[in-house]
Amino acid sequence: MELDKIISLLKSKFGDEVIHEIDENASPKAVVVGVADIHRVCMELHTNEQTYFDMLSCLTGLDNGPDAGTMEVVYNLYSVPFEMGLMIKVKLDRNKPEINTVSDIWKTADWHEREAYDMFGIKFENHPDLRRILLPADWEGYPMQKDYQHQEYYRGIKVEY
């Protein structure tokens, strides 16, 4: 299935405004959808017999920096029976990065969302178990943010080396 067919399928289901932007330059080609729509768009792509994206390959958090004022979440979907990939991008407000979880659709998202929360501070609503995953639970701040300043001491150990 081609990208334009996926787009028209989503538009016919949820209305024209569901797709904010199309990025043909990306590989695989990407669509940008709104924060509020991500769960139902993913659910539709996952369950629809024509698309059937049964695998979530990768979920990436991304910070555009304080000047741009946005964060992003990038979903890389893959459909094993149709052998096609799709990238979905969502822009978030940097001051209040909140988005609905997709871990009820793909279990892969569970740990990837925890990692994005750990590194960027993106809150995934309705996530069953949103704890830090790679860093210690009492670490301060979110290291992958572009303006991150690490704490001076952690447990009396100097962080700067």
Binding site: K107, T108, L134, R155
Partner: protein
């Protein structure tokens, strides 16, 4: 001052830094929480499993990761593309060539030079990657047999892995962390005599593999411990994003070398083994190990074909320069790019965002195969015995360097 001990032991340090998910009041009267790891031989590194069990039966498993976290993604945001390669090596340290291959392929595709590479470079890449895949599967099967209680296979496999490591050292100068595949080419051409030595090795290894099968795969104790244990149904595997030998063990013929046909894999003839439930159910621990062992045979086939190409069609010439296409400055156009490839553990992916203005990636995310494969552990081991938990964990074949990155 420099030698002063900075860390002051305090009793609640561990409780604060990595608290257990289960508290005492959550448990039923017969249940107990036991920590497996972080220092435990069967976790193959530093992984802590919080196990809730009732007698011998596992009720829940909660993995606590991050003991080997080295901020790969943060480092990658401050280094040029070519200087990230050594960091990629250190992610999956048992299969560094495979990780490198995926990474350099991604950067080359972003630059648009992927199709221009000389065929000899591509065949050398596939040759060393497959050698590394065999070495990695040797460690996987060897340590797995050791978890189960068989000590001999580990020694035999490490002995044969040594041949591979010496060959790769001969080519690249390092035993495990190579930095041999470069963006746009290779560090060096293969050393003179490598092809002959490699052909000799293939001839040496074939009978050893038959020994391995008799020693491990047909072993009565091994079968008793692994057959019908940790059965992974296919739909669950896909939902969790599990890839590699684990997914193929569940019966899906899905190998990115075939599906994507990247590099020169589309020109090479090889099979993709899947789990068939020969001694138990499809998708049990034995099937996953069996897929790995049969993949070694397939890798040998690939190596033989590469050697033929490298000694005939694309043979060594004086003019051949493996660094011919290595760009002086790596500056891809602004784009988002997701590249994936098959490592011994499954799909390794890199997500790049290039801003088009610098030699440094704006964002480089590694989609690690073990990280995703490990997330299924609690689903697989719930309701089983503690001894089965060890068998399941070993069959997932994790490398903590890649899980924690």
């Amino acid at each position: 001052m420099a030698n002063e001990i900075q860390y002051q032991y305090q009793e609640d340090n561990l409780i604060k830094s990595e608290p257990n998910k289960y508290r005492e009041e959550d448990l039923k009267s017969e249940e107990m929480v036991v920590n497996l790891g972080p220092q435990h031989p069967s976790t193959h590194g530093v992984l802590r499993l919080e196990v809730v069990y009732d007698g011998e039966v596992v009720r829940d498993v909660i993995p606590h990761l991050g003991y080997l976290h080295r901020c790969f993604e943060k480092h990658a945001e401050s280094l040029p593309y070519n200087q990230i390669i050594p960091f990629v090596d250190r992610m999956d340290y048992l299969a560094a060539m495979n990780s490198e291959h995926v990474y350099v392929m991604g950067v080359e595709k972003m630059l648009g030079i992927a199709d221009k590479l000389p065929k000899r470079v591509e065949y050398i890449r596939v040759l060393v990657t497959e050698l590394n895949r065999i070495a990695s599967h040797f460690v996987a099967v060897g340590t797995y047999a050791m978890d189960i209680g068989a000590f001999t296979p580990f020694f035999w496999l490490i002995r044969d892995r040594e041949h591979i490591q010496r060959m790769l050292e001969w080519a690249s100068g390092a035993r495990m962390l190579y930095n041999y595949l470069w963006v746009g080419g290779l560090f060096y051409d293969l050393p003179v005599g490598f092809e002959e030595r490699c052909a000799e090795f293939v001839k040496y290894l074939r009978p050893k593999l038959a020994e391995l099968e008799g020693l491990v795969m047909e072993n009565k104790i091994f079968i008793d411990r692994t057959a019908n244990v940790g059965v992974l149904p296919l739909d669950l595997a896909l939902n969790y994003g599990v890839t590699g030998p684990m997914l193929r063990g569940s019966g899906l013929r899905y190998d990115l070398r075939k599906v994507d046909g990247y590099s020169v894999y589309s020109e090479i003839d090889f099979d993709v083994p899947i789990g068939e439930g020969k001694v138990g159910t499809v998708g049990d621990c034995w099937d996953r190990t069996d897929v790995r062992v049969r993949e070694i045979h397939e890798s040998l086939k690939i190596i033989e074909q590469c050697l033929v190409k490298l000694t005939k069609e694309h043979k060594r010439t004086k003019e051949f320069d493996p660094q011919e296409l290595v760009p002086k400055k790596i500056r891809p156009k602004a784009q988002d790019f997701y590249i994936r490839g098959e490592t011994p553990r499954g799909e390794l992916g890199f997500f790049f965002r290039a801003d088009g203005k610098s030699d440094i990636p704006f964002r480089c995310k590694a989609r690690s195969s073990c990280f995703v494969n490990l997330s299924i552990i609690s689903e697989l081991s719930k309701g089983g015995l503690i001894a089965d938990l060890i068998a399941i964990l070993g069959s997932i074949d994790i490398v903590l360097g890649e899980v924690d990155r």
